[in-house]
Amino acid sequence: MNAIGLLRVALRALAINKLRSILTMLGIIIGVGAVIVMIAVGAGAQAKVDEQIRALGSNLLLIMSGATTSGGVRMGFGSNFTLSEDDALALNRELPEIIAAPALRGTSQVVWGNTNWSTVLFGVTAEYFEVRQWPVVRGREFEPSDLLAATKVCIIGQTVARQLFGDADPIDQVIRIKRVPFTVIGVLENKGQSLMGTDQDDLIVMPISTARKRVLGGNQAKQRSVGTIWVKVREDEDAKRVEDSVRQLLRQRHRLQSGQDDDFSLRNLSEVMAAQEASSRVLAILLAAVASVSLIVGGIGIMNIMLVSVTERTREIGLRMALGARTRDILGQFLVEAITLSLLGGLIGIVIGVATSLAIGEWAGWRIQLSPESIVLAGTFAFAIGVFFGFYPARKAAKLHPVEALRFE
């Protein structure tokens, strides 16, 4: 019997017990749907992490000032400004494979007209934008003269722009930071959330010299100290090796003896990101694995119903054999029936899975990424389940003895 003939016979047999066929397919429908949804959600989460990595900038090192000890009480990192702008200058000078950007941090209320907003201030050098891979989308970056003369200019993040100015154009507007008037010369590109969920666009950057003199004031004893230095390792450099060179240079500059702890902390953010990405991938695989368990359960359901069907139709099998059906004809008939069940279930599952994924994306606001590969994979899996779980019942049918099958009551 040819393929179309087999398919017609299978569809007719399934149509006789419509409710039973649909219930049997339900396992496969749920399994395929779940696999597609889980892969879509997992891929969406991973895409989000990837995006955050891109937003952070690749090959990024973060150096933070070290801990102080006062009266035996050790404070956390950043409690003492052990880093200085000179460290950054030295890094840029000594290590051509990196770009270092020192940053001074503070918080303040900022005012424009009758609105105000509390945000984070960063005093930075011109390298900051390149190191963070964070371009200014409107206006301009700092000129060297801004840094030298400590001019009262600033560049604001998207959130600050929205909160202070709404729809108005912030360029050349004057805002007040700690009562000091600053001219807004630029707006940074939208960067989105950080890995920890904080809004990276809620900030104002200004020349580091301005920040020190006009706003953050500070520590007279340590005129040039900074809290953090961002370091961008140039592409195709070995981040691990560069990390060691940076550590060596800083230890040397800080006159640390061997055996003494670092007075700064050096973190490779890309590694943190990579770990996060790996864990989100593991989670996606785990979800898909759980979903595929229900596919296998669905397959067992198909096998169960096919066994019932073979028993119910023993006389029909006997008759077909009497009329000349060979072993492979009967095997084919029941195998095609099982595969039709699983493929039909798979198709419905794909439709439901895609619809559910889109609905989750729409209503829950999660990032969803539907891939054609996952649909093909789920379909292929459904087909394989039909073959695998349909084979045993079909073989049982084909191995029946014609006389016994005909006499079966």
């Binding site: 019997m1 029909e316 008759l319 054999m321 009329l323 000349g324 072993t327 014609p402 006389v403 005909l406």
Partner: protein, 264 residues
């Protein structure tokens, strides 16, 4: 007439637990082409086993069986399936039609397994249904047909591959007497046209239409008699009070085919 069936010392032995059951004991028979043979015997006499073996549904434990010029006692399952498909037409007591399937498709079924293409299949099935007087009911499903009509569909199915013989197992067992007569008349017509027919029955009423009667007891052939003057089912039908006319020839009297409505 050439010999169509030749068995020599055909035996079938079943082992049930420690018991050995001899279903067939060294049966040797020759059946010529064109014969109408009735196999008789009480239940358990081995007549069903013989039919299964002659029908290539089962293999003998020992002995030889030649169908036409081919030895079939030692063929494997798929080869036997092919012999059944090409050489033997089965008619069963319970008709054994596929439910929810039209008469035409039921008749087509053996041709499907013979690998005939759809168009030729439908043509042959259609003409065979016309031959048994059901040309107007090709798209009826079994549930929409009377018992007699269902058996006619089954006979059309048996004939459609143009087999060497027809094996009928109690073909009238589920039919009333008038319909039984009609079926027997159809068999006699087919036999007169040259078809070899073997009827398995325990009813003398059926056997009297056969030209030869084989009697079995405890698995052995005990009597082989020629019936020189078999009854003519057509005449008996004609003698019955007329209900309607009957389509017994290969004619295609479509009105006549309704004669069996409600008769079973």
């Amino acid at each position: 007439m050439p010999v169509l069936i030749r068995t020599r010392a055909l035996s079938k032995v079943y082992h049930v637990g420690d018991n050995v059951i001899h279903a067939l004991r060294e049966v040797s028979i020759d059946i010529q082409q064109g014969e109408l043979v009735a196999i008789m015997g009480p239940s358990g006499s081995g007549k069903s086993t013989l039919m299964n073996v002659l029908g290539c549904l089962d293999r003998p434990s020992s002995g030889s069986y030649a169908l036409g010029d081919r030895e079939v006692s030692d063929l494997d399952a798929d080869a036997l399936a092919e012999v059944r498909n090409r050489g033997i037409g089965f008619v069963f007591q319970s008709f054994n039609l596929l439910p929810r399937t039209s008469a035409l498709e039921n008749v087509e079924l053996p041709l499907v397994y013979a690998g005939i293409d759809t168009r030729a299949r439908q043509q042959r099935a259609h003409s065979m249904l016309e031959r048994v007087g059901l040309g107007a009911r090709t798209d009826h499903q079994p549930a929409q047909l009377s018992g007699g009509q269902q058996q006619r569909v089954a006979i059309a199915r048996a004939l459609v591959t143009n087999p060497l013989l027809i094996l009928a197992d109690e073909p009238t067992g589920a039919l009333d007497s008038r319909t039984s007569l009609e079926i027997m008349a159809l068999f006699q017509t087919l036999n007169r046209e040259g078809m070899t027919i073997i009827l398995v029955t325990h009813e003398p009423d059926v056997a009297r239409f056969a030209g030869r009667i084989l009697r079995f007891l405890d698995g052995a052939l005990v009597e082989d008699t020629i019936n020189p003057q078999p009854d003519d089912a057509h005449q008996l039908l004609a003698a019955l009070p007329p209900v309607n006319t009957l389509p017994l020839s290969s004619g295609t009297d479509k009105n006549a085919s309704s004669s069996t409505v409600g008769s079973a």
